[in-house]
Symmetry: C2
Subunit: 338 residues, 2 copies
């Protein structure tokens, strides 16, 4: 088969790779229904995170079970399944408490920008849909593998409740789906921070009530103006830079909650500032597996349509164009057809 491999900064190749096989009896191999590029793929693509060796790319996936290891019990061949970017056994102490992305046996999934994918710990990791979905549901189901699950976790970690005032830092796919999640959780006011027209529009489609275009201290001042001078109840941090983290913390009211899901790159939090901010801070790699059953149900019943974040579709063979479009922010998120 042919799949995407990253060689170094801005060097993604679509090239021949070995077909994935069952290695352990707990593995599954699935035929990818649709793949995509993640905002976090851009860190190594841009060289901010080094690429030590040619690396098969892609960790968001959904598709049909093609082959199963002998120990897999709950997943059947032919089922349509979705899983997280972290494979998890879903039975260890951390999984039991809902932190499957800290599973004691977790493994990173990689190489999903390809027609076939091996997923380890299949029983713990994969969630089957009620039936094989119609074509038009596939993009939304695909988002559940990461961006939608991550946006949902940001809102959950930020304690969004019915009636909450929420601010979202970051207008990438995760931030936009954070808006959708906050709306779904009953937030009354959702302030999206964005200066891009197409992203502002999608944020409003997803439920944003206000748009703030300012950043940094000015952005914080705008949020305070909109929130009686004290800050938002819940702030979703969906970027992972020093500026975005501080913007999120400073935009939150004392006693409020920051949910942060942007993988931090060179972020240092000043202890004293954090202390006097009086915020709750929670985040990390989203335990997508915890949310999958509920989110599959919401998509299946057409209550949410997170697939709208895909504003460009390309054949898998043009994966390098997909990276370029996202790197240059010409596309919010690119869907790839194998």
């Amino acid at each position: 088969m042919q799949g995407a491999v990253l060689y170094g900064p801005r060097d993604v190749r679509f090239e021949e790779r070995d077909d994935p096989k069952i290695i352990k009896p707990t593995d599954a191999v699935i035929r990818i229904a649709a793949a995509c590029v993640c905002g976090s793929d851009l860190w190594p693509y841009r060289g901010i995170q080094p690429t030590a060796q040619p690396t098969p790319m892609g960790h968001e996936y959904c598709g049909t079970v093609q082959e199963l290891g002998s120990a897999v019990k709950s997943i059947k061949r032919g089922q349509f399944v979705i899983g997280s970017f972290f494979a998890s056994d879903n039975t260890c102490l951390n999984c039991q408490i809902g932190y499957q992305s800290s599973c004691q046996h977790r493994e990173l999934v990689g190489g999903a920008q390809a027609p076939l994918l091996r997923v380890s710990l299949a029983d713990g990791t994969l969630v089957a849909t009620p039936d094989v979905p119609s074509e038009e549901l596939v993009p939304s189901l695909l988002t559940l593998s990461d961006v939608m699950g991550t946006g949902w976790f940001a809102a959950d970690a930020a304690n969004v409740k019915p009636g909450s005032t929420v601010a979202v830092v970051g207008d990438g796919a995760v931030g936009l789906l954070g808006v959708l999640s906050a709306k779904q959780m009953g937030a009354e006011r959702i302030i999206a921070m964005s200066r891009h027209r197409s992203r502002q529009k999608l944020a409003c489609d997803f439920g944003a009530t206000d748009i703030v275009t300012e950043r940094g201290d000015e952005g914080v001042a705008r949020i305070k103006e909109l929130t009686n001078g004290i800050g938002a109840d819940s702030v979703l941090e969906c970027v992972g830079t020093q500026e975005s983290m501080m913007q999120a913390i400073s935009s939150t009211r004392p006693g409020g909650h920051v949910g942060y899901v942007g993988v931090p790159h060179r972020v240092e939090l000043d202890g004293e500032k954090l202390f006097f901010s009086h915020v709750h801070l929670h985040g990390g790699p989203a335990p997508v597996r915890r949310f999958l059953p509920e989110l599959v149900d919401l998509v299946w019943k057409r209550k949410i349509n997170p697939g709208k974040v895909f504003d460009l579709s390309l054949p898998l063979g043009q994966v390098a164009d997909a990276y370029r479009a996202m790197d240059e922010r010409r596309a919010i998120k690119v869907l790839l057809h194998p």
Copy 2:
């Protein structure tokens, strides 16, 4: 009157000061029943925090209302009252939500190591006891002004619930009262980290079930051994150094909670480490006012005896000896009689 004034590192003087007076109509002047030295007084005493000018010391207080400003309505002359180290109006948006130490009109209280003290925003700040207390209750009531309220907040911020496994970093008065708080909130297992015999003993009196003497990485390893390899549900950070913060974060299970109340001094949190730790982080200056009614009730009914942290009593005139005893860790906490 004579009171304690800090001139610089290790230079506390007991000297003549002006009697406090009503300055604003919302003020009260109270006659101090007992005063004490706080762990946080040791930061400027040790010169780690600079002293720009001679500073009247002491921010923990309880006593009898002697004089009232014309606008004070709920507090009466002759009442026995307790207040927090932050005066608060108890009506602003931050106060309403229980974060009185982030009150929009907060003022630091200072100069309580003296016979008389002015407290601003008296209606919002002071809580009266049901009656004038008997002498033996005064030490416990005094702790509610800061250390007990702060230990309680640490446990509250760390989400201690019935059945929780709790670890406490720091064996100062706040840490020890964090143990008592966790016990009162129903924790099943409470691991106190201490290498001092007298503090270990008091921790056990207050409800600690385990003592860990190791620190840093070894301390973390011990906590993990005691908690099925994953870490404690709740960790109370009651020191405020880089080492203690990292020890607290690393001792917490994924999805667990760190409550931090030690004022951070030169603490920088690595964003990536925090992210992958998956902990909840909450803390700050304790909103003591929120807890005062409940804690007064618990002391009044003899359900808790936090006054046991005072292991040395001195006349107020010997305040310099009190600082020395605490600086050298000869005393956990010193009570001062005016």
